[in-house]
């Protein structure tokens, strides 16, 4: 079925009414750098994800021996051996503070995601996932989807300081949002556009008619907020436009089952289970083009993860647990750090499980995984552990470990944006400002 044919069908169905429905922007016509599906001839879009875990790492268990392609996976990364060639591991890259007070667990995380360290929660938005979404996410039902898997309503994805993109904390709510009302099975036979959806969409355009006048009547800061509102309205219109189109078929896609009711809290076992379910749902959402950007908060940066029956959380332990003299590190903290990497593998499993084109969904994703600090005990933002996974549809190279030697961590953010097709030459401010990408990562 080609686009002209669809339009004809639409007109026919609506009895010749003045429809004026914009066709959805299909990747077929947009994206010339992806690879083609074997069967349909459509190009495969690239997707972006970020995956955050809190409270850093135990360096001796996480930093690989050797750099370049010749490195040994350390114990905490050992479970990721199946993905060795699809991982780029970055150690020793710093968030540089330039004298900005380090707000524990916040400055590092936001500094990495914006290139600008801030002394408080006033993030210098947008975060890089939003910048990337604006480039690759147009024309999908959701501009991005955020989840938090440890029961905490927190998000590190911001278009503006006053409006984080909120995280779903329940797999069931996530399921309903993606696969509930408004979802179209891409492989369903037959398609009838819903006339109520059409009416709904035209009502939204009426809402925006006073835009200019309204913008003039408020102060400069409020105008920016209004602009954000209108951007969100456009996203909603876009969702409706997509519902008026027969969805493009997706190979190997089946609608997932609704997730079971789970205990949603910060107990590690529960979190692992919640995370696995959410990862699976996000992978399906990416597969059938509901979104191209996902942001996962496995544990908050001030990690509230805990073991059943324990009086202390992961974060509290980082400050209170004595170093085990035999091991040379905090043993219980180490346990949480190890578990976090197991969860990271679960996330990659969910993407790699889905066949797409000649490979898997993971091959067409770029996932940036990072923490908020290196050594949580000291809140150190030097050497924040960071990884890039996936193939980005052939746009990146992986399978290496790079020691940053105190380079600004914004080099990673810059390179990731370039890999996602953004025309950006320099990113970050002051000594985080960099024009040096990481050539090893770019294909």
């Amino acid at each position: 079925m080609n686009k002209y044919h669809r339009r004809t069908v639409l007109r026919g169905l609506l009895g010749g009414a003045a429809v004026g429905v914009a066709l959805p922007v299909l990747d077929l016509f947009l994206n010339d750098s992806g690879k083609a599906f074997a069967a349909t001839g459509r190009r495969i879009p690239v997707r972006f994800g970020s995956w955050i875990w809190g409270c850093g790492h135990i360096p001796e268990k996480w930093i690989p021996e050797g750099t370049g392609t010749d490195f040994t996976l350390p114990p905490d990364l050992e479970p990721l051996a199946p993905y060795r060639d699809q991982l780029a591991i970055f150690s020793g890259f710093d968030v540089r503070l330039d004298g900005v007070p380090n707000k524990p667990h916040v400055t590092g995380c936001l500094g990495l995601r914006t290139g600008i360290p801030v002394p408080n929660d006033r993030v210098e938005a947008p975060t890089l996932d939003v910048l990337i979404g604006d480039e690759i996410g147009k024309g999908t039902r959701f501009s991005s989807i955020e989840v938090s898997t440890s029961g905490i309503q927190r998000s590190y994805s911001y278009r503006a300081a006053g409006s984080p993109n909120p995280s779903e904390t329940s797999p069931l709510a996530l399921y309903k949002r993606i696969f509930g009302a408004g979802f179209q099975d891409p492989n369903a036979a037959g398609f009838t556009p819903d006339s109520r959806t059409m009416v709904h969409k035209s009502v939204l355009s009426a809402v925006t008619e006073d835009r200019k006048q309204l913008m003039r009547s408020v102060g400069a800061e409020d105008r920016r907020r209004l602009d954000e509102y209108f951007t969100s309205i456009r996203q909603l219109e876009n969702q409706l436009a997509l519902q008026l189109e027969p969805p493009a078929p997706v190979e190997n896609f089946t609608i997932p089952d609704p997730p079971p009711d789970l205990v949603l809290d910060s107990e590690m076992e529960h979190v692992m289970e919640t995370h696995k379910l959410m990862a699976g749902l996000l992978a399906r959402a990416l597969q059938c083009n509901q979104t191209r950007v996902v942001n996962v908060l496995f544990s908050d940066t001030t990690s509230n993860l805990r073991r059943r029956g324990s009086t202390t959380t992961h974060h509290t332990l980082t400050h209170e647990e004595p170093v085990n003299p035999e091991l040379g590190y905090q043993e219980q903290v180490g346990w949480f750090a190890t578990q976090s990497m197991l969860a990271w593998r679960d996330f990659l499993d969910a993407l790699a499980e889905i066949p797409e084109g000649d490979g898997t969904l993971l091959d067409n994703c770029l996932i940036l995984a990072h923490s908020d600090c290196s050594i949580a005990k000291a809140h150190a933002v030097e050497g924040i552990p960071t990884m890039v996974a996936g193939g980005a549809g052939g746009r990146i190279r992986t399978g290496f470990h790079m020691a940053g030697k105190a380079d600004p961590i914004s080099r990673i953010g810059l390179t990731v944006q370039q890999a996602m097709g953004l025309q950006v030459e320099s990113w970050g401010t002051r000594s985080m400002e960099t024009r040096r990408n990481i050539p090893e990562l770019l294909a």
């Binding site: 380090n102 409006s163 309205i233 909603l236 959380t313």
Partner: protein, 575 residues
């Protein structure tokens, strides 16, 4: 400030950032209305400008109350609300900074569709619509216009302009053409209104003040809206909008009459509840989890009831009894449910709902700071936290901000609560009070929180920790005392306690920090509050009828002239 200096400040001084009245740095642009606009003279030379109008997003509580009031409490709100932005200690202030993400608009849209579908459904429409169409399958323009104008005025908190009415009428007409039904047409017109910025955002507008040339004030609709959400937590009702339209809010008498009327309505208590829910940071209950092995008595019913218990205590004391605000910290009043009875280890006669009870002397409790709603909220999942509790007392009740811990914290070996040599939190926190890097700030928090140590991580009473007797002595700004009742009395007597309430209440009402021009007014309010024996209703009334509450400067924009011109245009003033 360089890093070294920052560290030094924390180390030596750990200054409490003065709290009760954080004054916004009034921007220089704000001080002078847009230059070059004729007639836009600045206020009396040298005096600081009134604050600019704000654009506030409806909170979840306001949205729900508004929908219930305009339509019916039985109309469902199906969309979800994300965690509200808290700024300057209040969600109410966050509303003037918060943006609208794609998620929030998507959810507002879901709510709008659900509400509109319910309102126009057969079950509700006869009751809620101002008219019925002559024939449902033909477009009844008169009735449609009446419906659009009726709901438009209530939803936008002002009459619709002709073009707005026309636009929503078009939506109704076009929809009916397509779907063939009058009610579906109005349903989508209603969806349009409820997803409009004019509904979701309280956009305040200014007009030239006719009494004072060169000065501005909020227009009547903005004043009605500010007043209504302050006094009722909800949208202006029909009568308030009528009064605004008739110019009655411009007269002292007319305004006083409306304030009196609104304060007498049952919605007044709702406004007070919502304010304290915000002040006490109760939205944090949504994320609160306790370890089920350590605290088997805690569950979601306890969480819900704990939140309600404190709000009931507050409204009962401040409204029903018109009590002294400071007595909230010493009251032994204890509304209880069966679930709460388990945590408090008190018998509860009723199986369903609430029973009023009193905490005995032996309970060790007095004041809302000794209720589960405070104690559980400011604890860890598996244990209490004198530090978190002390910090919350400073920030919530005294409006003082305690700085973040230094980056380089190391409590190793101190806080391990299985450490036999340090069985109690006091022992474990000793290092905080002895290590210079920790001491400065922890002496502000721990001596307060330690007095609440007879309550565990969910607020259950205990006298021992790990077998050792718990010492509950402590101090607040030089005054020494013991246990929760001692802390309550100290808070009761602390000069910042009522000042903090005044500050938070006022900032909540205006949705922003106070500006320099308001300082004298705030001082006046502090005095009035003291003079009336710290009664909240009197304080709220004083604010609501004051001129200062509605003062405004035109918004500063880089197109300031246009804005002022727009205000003048809206006012019908061509000059």
């Amino acid at each position: 400030m360089n890093k070294g200096l920052a560290a030094l400040v924390v180390l030596v001084a750990c200054q409490l950032l003065p709290g009760s009245d954080p004054v916004a740095a009034n921007t220089p642009q704000a001080a002078a209305p847009a230059a070059g606009s004729p007639g836009a003279g600045s206020p009396a030379a040298g005096s600081p400008a009134a604050a600019q109008p704000v654009m506030r997003r409806l909170t979840e509580a306001q949205y729900r109350a508004t929908v219930a009031d305009i339509f019916d409490p039985g109309i469902p709100v199906v969309g979800r609300f994300e965690r509200a932005l808290r700024s300057d200690g209040l969600i109410a202030v966050g509303t003037s900074e918060s943006g609208l993400s794609p998620f929030s608009v998507e959810q507002y849209d879901a709510s709008a569709r659900g509400i509109a579908a319910a309102v126009l459904s057969e079950a509700w429409r006869d009751q809620l619509l101002p008219c019925q169409p002559a024939v449902a399958n033909r477009f009844d323009e008169d009735c449609a216009t009446r419906i659009v104008e009726h709901f438009g005025r209530l939803l936008f908190r002002r009459p619709l302009s002709d073009s707005e009415t026309g636009r929503f009428l078009d939506a109704a007409r076009n929809t009916q053409q397509r779907l063939g039904d009058f009610y579906s047409g109005l349903e989508f017109a209603l969806v349009g209104m409820m997803i409009s910025p004019d509904f979701l955002l309280r956009i305040e507008r200014v007009e030239p003040d006719p009494a004072k040339p060169g000065h501005y004030r909020l227009d009547a609709w903005s004043r009605a809206t500010r007043l209504s959400y302050f006094i009722t937590g909800s949208t202006p009702d029909d009568e308030l909008l009528r009064a605004a339209g008739a110019g009655e809010l411009d007269t002292e008498q007319g305004l006083a009459h409306q304030v009196e009327r609104l304060m007498a309505s049952p919605r007044f208590a709702n406004a007070v509840r919502v304010f304290f829910d915000d002040m006490l940071q109760f939205e944090l209950f949504d994320d609160l989890a306790k370890d089920p092995v350590i605290y088997p008595s805690y569950n979601s019913a306890v969480a819900e009831d704990a939140r309600e218990q404190t709000l009931l205590t507050i409204t009962d004391h401040l409204l029903t009894r018109n009590g002294d605000y400071r007595d909230l910290f010493t009251t032994r009043s204890a509304p209880l449910t069966r679930s709460l009875g388990v945590v408090y280890r008190m018998p509860v006669a009723t199986r369903n709902g609430w029973a009023m009870s009193e905490f005995s002397e032996r309970s060790g409790r007095a004041g809302i700071q000794s209720q589960v709603g405070f104690l559980a909220l400011h604890s860890h999942p598996g244990r209490s936290s004198p530090t978190l509790r002390g910090k919350a007392i400073r920030e919530v009740f005294l409006c003082q901000h305690v700085p973040d811990p230094p980056v380089d914290v190391d409590f190793t070996g101190i806080n391990d609560d299985s450490n036999a040599a340090r069985p109690t939190a006091r022992d474990r926190l000793e290092a905080h009070r002895t290590q210079p890097a920790c001491k400065a700030c922890h002496t502000l928090m721990d001596p307060l929180g330690l007095t609440l140590e007879r309550f565990d991580g969910v607020g259950g009473f205990r006298t021992r920790e790990n077998g050792a007797i718990i010492d509950v002595s402590g101090s607040l700004d030089g005054r020494e005392f013991e246990a929760a009742p001692g802390l309550g009395q100290a808070l009761h007597d602390h000069p910042e306690t009522p000042r903090c309430l005044v500050s938070k209440l006022y900032r909540s009402a205006v949705g922003r920090k106070t500006v320099a021009a308001e300082k004298p007014f705030i001082e006046q309010l502090n005095q009035i509050f003291a003079d009336n024996g710290y009664r909240l209703p009197g304080l709220m009334q004083t604010i609501a009828v004051s001129e200062a509450f509605y003062a405004a400067s035109p918004p500063s924009t880089d197109e300031g002239e246009e804005t002022v011109a727009a205000a003048r245009e809206a006012q019908g003033d061509p000059s």
